[in-house]
């Protein structure tokens, strides 16, 4: 994936996680939001109000825009550390078809 971000310290221990069912390797212990951005994940979720795409905004646990699902629980990616075996799902948000 093409990322808008550069990782200045790429030589880190990588561990496997899954994102929407796909396996990817992220730096062990890294901030999950930063690791996903550096990996090239540009959109983290769709909002439950309109389905609009969102991604990290504040990176300090205040804006709640980097919400993802970890093992079925909504969590702030920017407040989560990467560990092997994380099961990450992007919340799809409101389906426009449902109105």
């Amino acid at each position: 994936m093409n990322s808008a971000f550069r990782d200045l310290t790429p030589a880190q221990q990588l561990v496997p996680v899954t994102l929407d069912g796909d396996e990817l390797m992220l730096p062990d212990g890294a901030n999950l939001a930063a690791a996903l951005l550096a990996y090239g994940v540009g959109v983290f979720r769709g909002t439950p109000v309109s389905g609009a795409p969102r991604a990290p905004y504040c990176m300090m646990g205040a804006c709640f825009d980097c919400l993802i699902e970890l093992h079925g629980v909504t969590r702030q990616a920017c407040m989560t550390q990467v560990q092997a075996g994380l099961v990450i799902t992007k919340p799809k948000g409101r389906d426009h078809a449902d109105g």
Binding site: P48, V49, G72, V73, T74, R94
Partner: protein, 364 residues
């Protein structure tokens, strides 16, 4: 400012009555409190509810049923006028029971009430399989539920906004941030607010919720109301997981699961406590185990406006003719009745509902 009616209190009770009066051609001014006032209208549970109301007081059950029946038309009219979807759903509602004994006891009470109401009390008992067919998320700890077909729910904040918007659109006035300090009746009524503003009106409706405790006696009412705290939780927005509301858990139209079943006598204290919110959460998780993973995003305490017997009070003042007290703790359920039926009673019209049993006489 001058009007036919001054409504003291801009919560859902006052706005519904004011809206109904404007529909009858009256000129209305609503005097509303401050941003931080105690406001049951902003903290309530949003139920249009019939079951469990009026046990031992069938006239209250009938009044609630009458309002519930009016709700559909009322919501359609107000919704169209204010271009607001009030999200009214009246497809029945549940009373969940974790044990057989409490379920059986409630059923006996409902059967008695059904008899008093001449059979008009359509409820059924759903046990495990039937219940889970209707509501797959219900957990194994639930012994059964009473499904009452006259129950439903609405978006109470949209109701509040729609009433305010349509009152203003129809030429009414809402004065917010005002606090009525003094009422005199030299000829008509003269209300003096703390800000110095004076409002004159031929008649007044006191619908100030807990504010009636202080203003009521000045107008010749007993106004024996007290605060009763309820704590309410709401989760993040979730995909649809409930088809009907219950008295303690419902999924709001925006997706959040709203939970609350506490009743506390703590005076004018609307804070939340961990002991109570944790108890509410534990019960909700027992009913719907999937909720354990849902994020709680807000909680709040709200003060119910309770009369000694829990029933509404509709009373016209003897010492200040033209003043009426309207207070209840079910302002959402009764909004349709307050909008459609109460104005005739306030006007003393021929088509007024008989509200004698709801007068303050019963407390003497």
């Amino acid at each position: 400012m001058q009007a036919d009616y001054a409504i003291i209190g801009g919560g859902v009770v006052g706005l519904a009555a004011g809206w109904g009066l404007i529909r009858r051609g009256q000129k209305v001014i609503v005097i509303d409190g401050e941003d931080g006032s105690f406001r049951a209208s902003r903290g309530n549970f949003g139920l249009v509810w019939v079951q469990s109301k009026g046990l031992g007081a069938p006239h209250y059950a009938r009044w609630s049923q009458r309002s519930a029946r009016l709700w559909h038309d009322f919501a359609a009219e107000l919704g169209a006028a204010s271009n607001t979807d009030l999200c009214l759903e009246q497809r029945g509602g549940y009373d969940f029971h974790l044990d057989e004994a409490s379920l059986a006891a409630k059923v006996r009470q409902y059967e008695m009430l059904r008899e008093e109401l001449g059979g008009n009390y359509p409820f059924e008992v759903l046990r495990s399989n039937a219940l889970r067919r209707e509501e797959p998320e219900i957990g194994p700890k639930v012994a059964g539920a009473i499904l009452h077909h006259q129950d439903g729910h609405v978006n109470p904040l949209r109701l509040l906004r729609a009433l305010a918007a349509d009152i203003v659109a129809r030429g009414g006035h809402i004065l917010s941030g005002e606090h009525v300090e003094d009422v005199s009746q030299p000829d008509g009524f003269r209300l003096t607010c703390r800000s110095g503003r004076v409002v004159e009106a031929g008649k007044i409706v006191l619908s100030a919720g807990l504010g009636a405790m202080t203003l009521g006696p000045k107008l010749g009412f007993k106004a024996p109301v007290r605060p009763q705290r309820g704590q309410v939780l709401i989760t993040e927005k979730l995909p649809k997981m409930m088809n009907r509301p219950s008295g303690i858990i419902r999924q709001v139209d925006e997706g959040g699961i709203q939970i609350g079943d506490s009743k506390e006598e703590v005076g004018l204290d609307d804070r939340t406590t961990i002991d109570t919110t944790a108890t509410i959460a534990a019960r909700a998780v027992a009913v719907m185990p999937g909720l354990a993973r849902a994020q709680l995003v807000r909680s709040w305490g709200a003060l119910r406006v309770m009369s000694p017997d829990g029933l509404p009070i509709y009373q016209k003042s003897r010492t200040m003719p033209g003043a009426a007290l309207v207070t209840c703790h079910s302002g959402i359920t009764l909004a349709a009745a307050h909008a459609r039926l109460l104005p005739a009673w306030l006007e003393g019209a021929d088509d007024a509902p008989d509200l004698e049993k709801f007068s303050e006489q019963r407390f003497s």
